[in-house]
């Protein structure tokens, strides 16, 4: 019975992810030890505790809410990457599509004064179009999607800086607050702020993100479209052979992927939790952290919900380390190590199966020997 569980693909993914997490945290701890041994244990605990840092329940819940607010966009980014990866594409351009989403959301909200629903839709469309560029370059010009994605990330960054420059206060690099300049575009809270101790940033975004994850799971596992996409991802040539529109599928996939990433940006910036700095010199890390979450979640949309939360949990937790000794980027370091270790997941599963095979072989041999000796005894 336990064998069956150990052989189970889903269990193996979970097990491998846990190994990655444990090792990642352990290496993070070792790094902290090197920096300063006396407070290292405490610091790593702060990272893991995150909002539990506070002793008052009220503050705990409020800060839990803050982590959730940032989990929603992260989940969207990792879904974006996961979806493209199922078709065999590594959409590192999710970071740029996220950036385009920011640009569209804020511009529509502040400059055009649109409501939240049009803002979401326009952001999704812009993200989809931006994703389509990668798709077109890939399917018609054979451009590696990783390189074109990176180039488009930078282009998105500078474009966003340029466009949002028109909707910011003259004295600061940050764009206007929505609650003063675009209240109509703020996502409805659905009364969730009350549950989260008055945290007004917890909004519709959260359930929408989870819903997206479920939706993607259904599309991939239950529909004809998912059947085609996965077939293309597993074997491009076979997909072509049986008449699937391979190029179209690549482009559509990247469009959906781009739309999801851009929506993720709306989920963050239409809560007014953060504003865009028009002097930014790098695309937001959200898109890259999405890679970590997608792989840590075993490339399963449902698993991704949990892995996204975990990554965001430690990222937020980084803020609580003692800054006079350590720095908050220790969380980024841990996430990066976790992605690196995710590269070994295939090897971990392979080793597990190998060990199981060997055990089974041994047992079979023993059973055989036992049977033989019994036979001998009978004679």
């Amino acid at each position: 019975m336990t064998k069956k569980i150990l052989r189970n693909e889903a269990f193996q993914s979970l097990f491998a992810s846990l190994i990655c997490i444990v090792l990642g945290v352990l290496i993070g701890y070792i790094v902290l030890l090197f920096i300063n041994p006396t407070g290292a244990g405490e610091a790593i605990m702060e990272v893991l505790k995150n909002f539990l840092h506070y002793s008052k329940t009220n503050l705990q819940i409020k800060n839990f809410g803050n982590t959730l607010v940032k989990t929603a966009p992260l989940l969207m980014c990792s879904l974006s990457i996961l979806f493209a990866y199922k078709v065999g594409l590594f959409n590192i351009g999710a970071a740029g599509q996220y950036c385009v989403g920011i640009c569209a959301s804020i511009y529509c909200a502040v400059a055009l004064g649109l409501g939240w629903l049009p803002c979401l839709i326009i952001a999704a469309v812009c993200g989809a179009l931006y994703g389509a560029i990668v798709g077109l370059l890939k399917s018609y010009c054979n451009v590696n999607e990783v390189i074109s994605g990176i180039m488009l990330n930078w282009i998105a960054l500078y474009t966003t800086n340029m466009i949002l420059n028109t909707v910011k206060e003259s004295t600061s690099p940050y764009t206007f607050h929505l609650n003063t300049h675009g209240e109509q575009a703020m996502l409805p809270g659905l009364g969730m702020d009350k549950i989260f101790a008055g945290n007004q940033y917890v909004t519709l975004a959260l359930p929408l993100a989870v819903l997206t994850a479920v939706l993607i799971y259904v599309v991939l596992e239950k529909t004809k479209f998912g059947y085609e996409l996965k077939a293309t991802g597993y074997n491009k040539n076979a997909a072509k052979y049986c008449g699937m529109a391979e190029k179209r599928n690549i482009i559509v996939t990247l469009m959906i992927s781009g739309a999801i990433a851009a929506l993720g940006a709306s989920f963050m910036y239409l809560t007014d939790y953060e504003q865009w700095s028009c002097t930014s010199s790098a695309v937001p890390a959200m898109g890259f952290n999405g890679i970590a979450a997608a792989f840590l979640g075993g490339l399963n949309p449902i698993g991704t919900i949990f892995s996204s939360y975990f990554i965001q949990h430690i990222t937020n937790g980084g803020a609580y380390v003692d800054k006079t000794v350590y720095c908050s980027q220790i969380s980024d370091l841990i996430s990066a190590i976790i992605i690196y270790l995710c590269g070994f997941v295939f090897f971990i599963k392979y080793t597990m199966n190998n060990i199981l095979d060997k055990q089974e072989e041994k047992q079979a041999l023993k059973a055989k020997e036992a049977a033989e000796t019994q036979e001998g005894g009978d004679k």
């Binding site: 529909t223 996965k230 597993y234 076979a238 997909a239 052979y241 095979d357």
Partner: protein, 512 residues
């Protein structure tokens, strides 16, 4: 007594997960002889040679060179012992020159810098001595298969190997090139080289080998002197029982034209010339038309053009009276075309999908398998797969949910054949449908092809195997360098005549 053996492999056992590739196999190679190793596909010949060449390590058994036990851990050890090998799939770097390929691994150098001049002299000297004509500065991708094989042979001679292994060397050659190779092998043996010649082609073994060892399903069957043994006896040793390789079939009764190709031209991915030049042919209802030819004469591109995997440069294709020249692949498949692809792993299957998903690869979008909201009807897919498995005897570990990857090659191919035939096509295109399969599966697939013909379908068979061409087809079209150079009747022609056409030595103006 002086040892008469150059190499002895004694009681070799090599296991892979799930199978025993070699089970207590012993072969002894005399100095200066040509020793054939005979066996069907999958009998363990290549594995045994890989053990000798150091690519695999045997679990049990020993190898002796000149009577002394030796350890061969990697190809370097083999090379040091004077063992060289021409692999079935050439191990040549395509964008390197002939010379670079020959010296690779034993480069003459000063302080790491290549000294190609002396290497070139040595290569030219060797090619002179053994009659292996090559251009040392040509790039591998530009030269013919025969020349590539000569490069491989020179690679061994350059290393001064004494024991030469030829792994299925004739598979890719024309009958005339085979003749030439046989002569070269005899020359080499005369010069004192000992040769191991792996093959499953009985006439070749009979023609060139002194002795022959036979393997069957990984087991050693025996060694015989070829001059005292008949082809029938060898064949019986190889397959275990006397099989009738001939396919029983009735006279064909061709009906109306199903497929009409006019002046088809397809570009090549390998070079600037067109791979298929101005080919015209017709296939009628109720006949098997076979495209014969040596590998690489445009057959692959021809099929790609016909099935829509590659666009045409020129020409027109009509299927059942409908012009499908520019039709997308899906349209062609829906108009009654079925395609058993040349490469089952590249095109035929999604290896990471279970068998039932693979069974509906061509039909998943039909209402039976997808409802009107775009959701898959998984129960129906499962049921359909079970039907195919039952009807076509596809064997797999867990039935419809078995991953295609974990199935044997023969059963993978059966699944594809089942899928393509069950579509009830008007035209069945079968490209090398029996490649790499055992006799039982080959027989089965040939029967299915003939049954399709008898059911009034048009069948277009593309094959490299002369026997298959002669047995199964009703009409043979020979393709040479992208052109149809002859139309032959399998009842009246001979394998020799066919060979001349395939080699481009003979051609007719054909209007098929």
């Amino acid at each position: 007594m002086e040892n008469q053996y150059a190499i002895e492999m004694l009681h070799i056992t090599k296991k892979f997960p799930g199978i025993i590739a070699n089970d207590d196999v012993t072969i002894q190679l005399k100095k200066g002889e040509i020793h054939a190793l005979l066996g069907e596909n999958g009998a363990g010949k290549s594995t045994l040679m890989s053990v000798l060449f150091g690519l695999y390590q045997a679990e049990e058994g020993i190898i002796k060179k000149d009577g002394k036990e030796v350890q061969i851990k990697d190809p370097n050890d083999a090379n040091a012992l004077g063992i060289g090998m021409v692999h079935q799939h050439f191990k040549l770097v395509e964008c390197f020159t002939v010379l670079d390929n020959i010296i690779m691994g034993v480069e003459p150098n000063k302080f790491g810098f290549l000294q190609k001049k002396e290497a070139r002299e040595k290569v030219l000297e060797l090619s002179e001595k053994y009659g292996l004509h090559i251009d040392p500065d040509a790039y591998i991708e530009d030269i013919t298969v025969g020349m590539q094989q000569r490069t491989e042979i020179l690679k061994m001679l350059y290393r001064e190997n004494e024991i030469l292994i030829f792994d299925e060397p004739t598979a890719v050659l024309t009958p005339q090139e085979i003749e030439e190779l046989m002569q070269i092998m005899k020359n080499l043996a005369k010069e004192g080289k000992s040769i191991l010649f792996i093959s499953h082609k009985l006439n070749e073994i009979k023609a060139v080998a002194d002795r022959c060892s036979v393997l069957r399903k990984g087991k050693y069957i025996g060694t015989v002197d070829t001059k005292d043994t008949t082809i029938e006896e060898l064949s019986a040793m190889m397959v275990g029982h006397n099989v009738n390789l001939h396919v029983q079939k009735e006279e064909s009764t061709p009906g109306e034209v199903i497929l009409d190709i006019e002046n088809m031209t397809v570009a090549s991915k390998m070079h600037k010339n067109n791979a298929v030049k101005n080919v015209s042919l017709k296939v009628h209802r109720g006949e098997v038309v076979c495209i014969a030819g040596i590998d690489g004469n445009g057959q692959t591109e021809f099929v790609y053009g016909l099935t829509g995997l590659e666009p045409l440069v020129n020409g027109k294709i009509t299927l059942c009276g409908e012009d499908i020249t520019k039709a997308p692949i899906r349209k062609r498949l829906l108009s009654g075309m079925s395609h058993i692809p040349e490469d089952r792993h590249k095109h035929g299957l999604v290896l990471d999908y279970p068998l039932d998903y693979n069974c509906v690869l061509q039909r998943y979008f039909e209402p039976e398998f997808t409802d009107k909201f775009g959701f898959l009807r998984k129960a129906n897919i499962r049921k359909y797969a079970e039907k195919l498995i039952e009807q076509y005897d596809v064997r797999s570990g867990q039935g419809p949910i078995t991953m295609a990857r974990s199935m044997s090659g023969g059963n993978q191919q059966k699944a594809i054949v089942a899928r393509e035939i069950d579509k009830n096509p008007e035209l069945l295109i079968a490209v090398q449908p029996t490649r790499g399969l055992d006799v039982g599966a080959i027989e089965y697939i040939h029967k299915q092809i003939v049954a399709q013909r008898d059911a009034g379908k048009a069948v277009l068979l593309v094959s490299l195997e002369l026997e298959e061409v002669m047995d199964v087809s009703d009409r043979i079209l020979v393709m040479y360098e992208g052109e149809i150079v002859g139309e032959l009747n399998p009842k009246t022609t001979t394998e020799d005549e066919l060979g001349l056409y395939m080699a481009g030595a003979k051609r007719d103006e054909v209007k098929a």
